[in-house]
Symmetry: C2
Subunit: 439 residues, 2 copies
Amino acid sequence: VNILLHYIKKMFDVKSKILDFHHPHQLLEGLDGFNLELSDHPESLEQLLVDCTDTLKYGVKTGHPRFFNQLSSGLDVVGLAGAWLTATANTNTFTYEIAPVFTIMETILLKKMYGIIGWGETEADGIFAPGGSISNLYGILVARYKQYPEIKRQGMTALPCCVLFVSEQGHYSVKKAAAILGIGTDNVIEVKCDERYVSNTFSKIYYCHYGHIPFCVTASAGSTVFGAFDPLHGYLTHILCICRQLGGGWGGLLLSRNHSHKLSGIERANSVTWNPHKLMGVPLQRSAILIRGKKGVMQPSCNKMHAAYLFQPDKLYNVDFDTGDKTIQRGRHVDVFKLWLMWKAKGTCGFEAQINQHMELAKYFCKVLKKKDNFKLVFDAEVKILLQRRLIEKGTAMISYQPCGDKVNFFRMVFSNPATRRADVDYLIDAIERLGKDL
Amino acid sequence: VNILLHYIKKMFDVKSKILDFHHPHQLLEGLDGFNLELSDHPESLEQLLVDCTDTLKYGVKTGHPRFFNQLSSGLDVVGLAGAWLTATANTNTFTYEIAPVFTIMETILLKKMYGIIGWGETEADGIFAPGGSISNLYGILVARYKQYPEIKRQGMTALPCCVLFVSEQGHYSVKKAAAILGIGTDNVIEVKCDERYVSNTFSKIYYCHYGHIPFCVTASAGSTVFGAFDPLHGYLTHILCICRQLGGGWGGLLLSRNHSHKLSGIERANSVTWNPHKLMGVPLQRSAILIRGKKGVMQPSCNKMHAAYLFQPDKLYNVDFDTGDKTIQRGRHVDVFKLWLMWKAKGTCGFEAQINQHMELAKYFCKVLKKKDNFKLVFDAEVKILLQRRLIEKGTAMISYQPCGDKVNFFRMVFSNPATRRADVDYLIDAIERLGKDL
């Protein structure tokens, strides 16, 4: 515990390095006595403690105020306490029998989220999943099942050629889901974005090939690279007959009265992926898939397999709270408690304040950048990579980069780390300028 | 931390109750000031600590020496320390960039597991997954891709009618995977078991309908209800041309020189699911899917989607260690450290001793039962349910029950809890006798 608390304290200090970079072969070979190989015989307790210290030493401090590399960043200490308790409880959320408190907490959290989206409790179903990609897979799985319930028994060969729509800026998990579900990536129709990186996927349904049946239209609420919001309200109204699936890491934005309008119309989606481990800062991992429609679309129909050894109908208690047969996995890690405890600690208002702070920092960042002549929206690719390498090697800040279409590598700045202050934003801009000077 | 340590200490005391049972509606309404509802405003730190205590109080002590309810049980304190460190590091295993130490640990653990199965390092691929069901899904996904690589782009409609085989005692996740992957549960051929609850799925391939193409044969190494081992060596030799997938929670048995013969022939499987959170007692959750064949079957081919924003090929380091494009999910919780630290603490020999202890307790249990006239292999169903209810209400021991085929409800005894001693086995048998006396 002392090792961990010391690490946390150091991590929040902006002067500490985010990482002490080494190459894979260096770690494989062993660094300063940090030997990762496993042996037949036990190590001493002292050595285990050294191993723990070294594991943290050579890792990446994702809670550091200048860690901007991922959509999920920061370390909420209440969320962390929740994670420690969860690990200690070491149970599984598949039945009320072995996770009575956690399954009820999940019910309460889902109800809260339905309400925030604008759905009534009785007209929605949902579950927490290991991450956004699995949530998106659930959304597409349920959309397919809703249109063609015979899929479960007969498989895709019994169906016509089904196609689904995604914006070219939509998350790649949609294509991955199509490959997994036996739909095939050729049947994912990518729709071009406009200059604001948003897309109106609905308008493209008219251009479907003869014999192709659209069964799912997806939209992004906060795309991965540009953080763009597809116009939900505008087009979702036209496609009530087709299943719509909405994926986005920025569901937390709904908690901010100043910014929730970006997701206006979300209540018309048939399913929503909401990742509290992003904008809401819940420790990894925590995603929710929320399905509109009468309760039970996931359990008694789409995914149920009647595993008699787990989901006995003759139990002591109301088995409505056994969630295991809803899921594509069986066992389910208890990830719900971290979010529940953070919600207790902050209240809905606290999440709102935190999200508003991220949005204000983003505004400040743009304001500062606009005043600088030597920053453009797109950098020269080579310069960009060398710059990121220098930042990683210095270990003082971490920011991600990527190419996109005809745009060469550029930096992606993300604000989801509650520890970030204006001074850290200033530091990052200065560091990029300074390290890039001689390139 | 004090709340958690107090809980752990109490849990290991056999005299403490495993659970303080309440019904879902009681928890929903709130118990003695334990209010699970969420509000707009924050709670005090004092109240949060009370909430944490109550969460543990009304939960199930899965590490209690008399918790036999699930295949995963027990609480390994080194594993728990690993889980706390993992939560504190709060990172994601998809790239070396943000999880350098953990991705290397995963490589080392997988290599160790390939070796134990009997595969060379260069002829295997693998990944840790959230649980056994997802691992089984990976196995079937890769089997399908190997036989029909066009599936990824063209979907199931481009394929002939593919069927797969599973024993009637095989895990239900095989059927679930067939539903998800668009194969359909009608195309899962269930093979009857003999009186030892084992099955030779291979022999049934000859009875395939005309036009049905077998692409995957599964076997169980430790079935969920009976813990039975399908004869791996016998039949796997005959079906080299067909993909074989082996699922089992009891992969840990390979670590015991006395018992590994039960998995003899496992090296001939094309994929193996191994759940260290069962017999090896790693805290939840931790499963591995191991694929035989040249390195890269999962990454460059089956699951890769080229997400430019994460898996840039022009990175600072050797990108072979970026695992994210292997997976069906995107982000991946760091679950690898718990197992790594436990392996360091116990050594391979320590795991062997622990597994041998479980097997000896099982032997002892059978010996005691055989001497008793009032125990039979199958109970009267009604009596069984009432008995389990009485045990749950008393909270002194937890054991699972289920029906199976023509057999009515019976108890399933599981030995995977390292805290269990002979006295706990005696207690359970006595308790069942005592509580069942007046039924």
